[in-house]
């Protein structure tokens, strides 16, 4: 009997929860704010769905209803991706500078 591909995805999902669990416990509490902003940025990988939605149109109608929702989602996710990674970078740079100056 063949296994439904859904089961494979479910396996990935469950195992990733465990990976996430252990990885996040090892995050130092002083970096919890950057953790939130970076998780924000990476969860915006949802943009891949938005891109597929936006590009799934025929040549005559680039702004069909479903494509338009795709474009909107792209814009929102892009705000998050750029904003999330850059603000994380900005915060982490502050932590780094200190160490250099003082040690």
């Amino acid at each position: 009997m063949e296994i439904d591909p859904f089961i494979f995805r479910l396996s990935i999902f469950i195992l990733s929860i465990f990976v996430g669990y252990y990885v996040v416990w090892s995050v130092t509490p002083s970096l919890h704010t950057p953790l939130m902003s970076v998780t924000n940025a990476i969860s915006s990988v949802i943009i891949v769905g938005a891109i597929i939605a936006a590009l799934a149109n025929n040549e005559s109608n680039f702004f069909s209803l479903s494509s338009s929702f795709g474009y909107l989602a792209i814009t929102l996710a892009a705000v998050n991706i750029f904003g999330g990674f850059l603000v994380t970078q900005r915060m982490l740079a502050m932590y780094k500078k200190k160490k250099k100056e003082k040690k």
Partner: protein
């Protein structure tokens, strides 16, 4: 690009996201971690473009919208003051939630694009997945909007409660499940829209009863939700990168919520069901009798600190409100010049989000090896000469250790009272968020400094 090849690339970007979080285990590796995250994102987006392979005008539009969003995001990221981090994160969560809703909607309208069947006959599993993704996304969106408004001060931070609230929420949550079931049975698009609408509503209702100082839990929880929404969409799109990321973010947010709840010694449900103030009012009224406090000025404080050999600083949300972190660091610099040992003690729930104080101190150029967590530093208070409490309150209240009747009994607190003397910067004697009096105010060795945190800190520096 073949489906298998792109699946492998999505897996790679998922792994890079894991490394991005892993990097945050120490400040030294964190920047590299963030870099991995960026690479992972670039891979995911590029692979999506290549696998769609439709380089029509539509591609150009996608690019334009990507750049518009990117420009807005970059602008915000560079402009935002560090004190506004909690609002920013809440705002970003709402965008992830809304993006998830939009993707779910467009998958519902045009399932062919995602190989999910045709409108009116979408694969059952996909329909369930997109309902979950859409509903959780909608809850994340509206919940985060409320959190944002409360943090921004546009909406009062006080809990908004009304009779039958829990019952109403329970009914709505059940109706979401029922709607999902009916939607799967009928494939009706109007049911889909109702489901999304009801989910927006429950997001609002779930967050309005939660008070301002519980925001660390709320933000973490919404962080978690945004992850689960992404995972739901990931299952719909059969996309590994999204599934992995969703699971990572979901568990990350859940862990942070747990840490925050533990920091307040409250159960998760206690926070979610809201109304901290409501039940605790009684106990705050008992302590109404006037007790004498010693109050002083900047001069007295400067004198005490000058004669100390070690000082521990306890910052709290008040420091963020007064934007006092820079003034504080200048004061500490002066103290250090006088050979006084200074360290910072941070309670897990100080501020409005996990790690809030750490970021502000980092912004003010405080080296992170001088900043300690509660467990690391709590024993040092007994040996320190002066504790300088700036903008914190409930997290220093010794009542949490002594009075089993107190609503905060059992909450881990900083043992500030063990210091030889305590300087407490505060605007008035008003109780903190938990609505209870702080015994620390009336201790023999406490000197109250009634002033704005920033102004007081600057005055002390002048007097040192």
């Amino acid at each position: 690009m073949s489906a298998n090849l792109s699946a492998i690339f999505y897996l790679i970007s998922g792994v890079l996201f894991i490394l991005a979080l892993r990097g945050l285990s120490s400040p030294e590796t964190s920047r590299q971690g963030n870099f991995f995250g960026i690479i992972g994102m670039i891979i995911a987006i590029t692979v999506t473009f290549l696998s769609v392979g439709n380089f029509s005008i539509g591609f150009l539009y996608v690019f334009v919208f990507l750049l518009i969003g990117g420009a807005i995001g970059s602008f915000i990221a560079f402009k935002i003051p560090m004190t506004a981090m909690p609002e920013l994160v809440a705002g970003f969560h709402s965008l992830v939630g809304l993006a998830a809703v939009f993707v779910a909607i467009s998958a519902f309208i045009n399932p062919e694009a995602f190989n999910l069947g045709v409108p009116g006959n979408i694969k059952l599993a996909s329909l369930i997945e997109m309902s979950i993704g859409g509903a959780v996304g909608a809850i994340t969106f509206s919940g985060s909007i409320i959190a944002f408004l409360k943090l921004q001060g546009i909406m009062s931070g006080a809990p908004i409660t009304f009779k039958g609230q829990h019952l109403l929420n329970a009914i709505i949550l059940i109706s979401i499940v029922v709607l999902t079931y009916l939607l799967c049975a009928s494939q009706s698009s109007s049911l889909f829209w109702i489901l999304i609408g009801v989910s927006f509503l429950i997001g609002f209702l779930l967050i309005i009863p939660i008070g301002g100082a519980d925001m660390p839990v709320v933000i973490s929880m919404l962080n978690s939700y945004s992850g689960w929404a992404a995972a739901g969409i990931g299952f719909t799109l059969e996309n590994t990168a999204l599934i992995i990321t969703g699971a990572l973010v979901g568990s990350s947010g859940a862990i942070l919520s747990y840490i925050m709840c533990k920091g307040m010694n409250r159960s998760f449900f206690n926070v979610i069901l809201g109304g901290f103030g409501a039940t605790e009012q009684a106990s705050s009224n008992q302590n109404k009798e006037k007790r004498p406090v010693k109050s002083g000025n900047a001069d007295d404080a400067a004198f005490l600190m000058k004669n100390a050999s070690s000082v521990i600083i306890v910052p709290g949300y008040g420091m963020a409100v007064a934007q006092a972190q820079h003034a504080l660091r200048e004061m500490v610099d002066t103290l250090k010049k006088n050979d006084i040992k200074v360290s910072y003690a941070i309670h897990p729930v100080a501020g409005r989000m996990p790690g809030h104080m750490n970021v502000l101190l980092a912004e003010a150029n405080v080296p992170y090896d001088e900043v300690f967590e509660l467990e690391e530093i709590n024993n040092d208070f007994a040996n320190a000469d002066v504790a300088f409490v700036i903008g914190a309150n409930d997290v220093t209240n010794p009542v949490a250790k002594t009075d089993p009747q107190s609503p905060i009994y059992g909450m881990p607190v900083l043992d500030v009272e063990k210091c030889k003397s305590v300087l407490f910067v505060k605007r008035s004697l008003s109780p903190g968020y938990a609505g209870i009096d702080n015994d620390l105010f009336y201790k023999e060795n406490t000197l109250m400094l009634f002033a704005d945190a920033k102004k007081m800190t600057e005055d002390i520096t002048k007097n040192l």
